[in-house]
């Protein structure tokens, strides 16, 4: 198989890489670009641990070919914090202890970020349905939901 040259934008940086035709975006991020935040949980789009945002839509990067992101805009967990300043979602996940082992956390954060960009004031039900494609075996989800609600309130400028 011959390699494919891909030009794309990842976390506001112009990036060029070579990949195999059957190589997933997840494998490109982790194995070629050193962006290890997206995790491979299932590899079949069920667990959400590899969630990243492509052209504004949150997707499982295990179900996207690397070659497909030519000319697109990719956001990963590595671009979420502003330098050393954490995104409100990241901060609230820590404050609410919304993680234990942390494998699922980058995926939850990317999915939650996409939710709050679309809907700044989601109900608990909307949060739970939106995050149904992200699996966590540690927290029981309640702490994650509360962290997202709290981050949303802060981002809206509501008093805590």
């Amino acid at each position: 198989m011959s390699s494919i040259a891909v030009s794309t934008t990842i976390n506001d940086d112009d990036v060029e890489f070579l990949c195999q035709p059957d190589e997933t975006l997840l494998d490109v991020l982790r194995n070629r670009l050193g962006l290890m935040g997206a995790k491979e949980g299932c590899g079949t789009g069920d667990c959400g641990a590899c969630s990243s945002i492509v052209d504004g839509r949150v997707v499982c990067s295990c179900l996207v070919l690397g070659a497909e992101v030519e000319g697109k805009t990719v956001e990963t967990i590595e671009g979420m914090a502003d330098g050393s300043e954490l995104h409100p979602l990241q901060r609230k996940f820590i404050e609410h202890a919304a993680l234990q082992c942390g494998i699922c956390t980058p995926g939850f954060l990317m999915a939650a970020k996409a939710l709050l960009e679309k809907n700044p004031n989601p109900s608990e039900t909307e949060i739970r349905f939106w995050l149904a494609g992200n699996l966590c075996r540690c927290t029981g989800y309640d702490k994650i939901v509360r962290a997202v609600q709290d981050a949303a309130a802060e981002m809206r400028g509501d008093a805590a």
Partner: protein, 286 residues
């Protein structure tokens, strides 16, 4: 394996028709990439159709909605006039998978994957939707119902690609609904799915109806007897009973751990009644 991203539909069909070995169309990839993870999967060519003009668009022409084969299902619910005209088609499509899957999966992919339980398909059959198919010999149209021929099998010929789904212009006082039963509330595959599409007259009498069942046979089915049971009625109790009985009778499901034959047949009747009531209310009936 080669990956190609042609810019025209002619190039895409030529690639598929001329490719030696196994070739696949890539749209949302939510089925294809899962299959690619399997060691036994073999492909010589993947043709990504999303670079072709119009594939990512939902267009309105003469009242028809034309949904390109690359449109992710999430885009359907973001299209307000489509939701207003075809709420049942949109709710079926939006039941496929998670948020992440919705950002990629397509109704054409759901159709061509040819699962008997495909959530977007019964509502599209009830809608009398058609597909536009590009092939080596030009373009043709076909009814949604004629695309799947059995589990994992379609009637598409070599080199043929479904370009778009066409939802027809519809009269006033028309609406539709899709309901499914799953053991879980989310992230599951239909045990029974039903799409109902109705048109009413000014007095609320049903003048046209189409009822389609999924997951209770090797392929989606259009149940004429169910439609006939409610045409000419105001969906009164007697009509609903006849509708439910016709749907249950038409269902020919398998028996497995997710539902027995008797259970699925009963649920087919119950869901058909409920979907018809929802469609009736949406169409302005009281």
């Amino acid at each position: 394996m080669r990956y190609e991203r042609p810019q025209t539909i002619e190039d895409a069909t030529a690639l598929l028709a001329g490719g030696a070995g196994k070739s696949y169309v890539l749209a949302g990839g939510t089925d294809l990439l899962v299959r690619m993870q399997n060691d036994a999967f073999e492909a010589d060519l993947i043709v990504d159709i999303k670079g072709i003009d119009g594939m990512g668009d939902i267009r309105r022409t003469n009242g028809d909605f034309v949904i390109g084969a690359g449109v992710p299902c999430a885009q359907l619910e973001e299209t307000a006039d489509l939701v207003a005209a075809w709420p049942g088609v949109v709710e079926g499509a939006n039941l496929i998978g998670s948020t992440q899957i919705q950002g990629r999966c397509t109704v054409v992919g759901n159709l061509c994957n040819a699962s008997p339980a495909a959530d977007s398909v019964p509502a599209m059959v009830a809608a009398d939707a058609r597909v536009r198919i590009a092939g080596p010999d030009g373009t043709r149209e076909a009814a949604i119902l004629d695309i799947p021929t059995g589990p994992g099998k379609t009637s598409l010929g070599a080199g043929e690609i479904i370009e778009a789904v066409i939802l027809p212009a519809r009269p006033a006082r028309s609406s539709d609904a899709y309901l499914r039963f799953t053991p879980r509330t989310e992230m599951d595959i239909a045990v029974v799915g039903v799409g109902v599409n109705l048109t009413l007259d000014d007095s609320g009498i049903i003048t046209a109806a189409r009822v389609a069942l999924g997951a209770v046979g090797p392929k989606v089915m259009l149940v004429d007897a169910a439609a006939e049971a409610i045409i000419g009625t105001k969906l009164d109790d007697a009509a609903l009973d006849a509708l439910g009985e016709a749907a249950s009778a038409a269902a020919s499901p398998i028996d497995d751990k997710r539902g027995t034959v008797a259970f699925r047949k009963q649920v087919a009747g119950v869901l058909t009644r409920r979907a018809a009531q929802t469609a009736y209310t949406r169409a302005g009936g009281k």
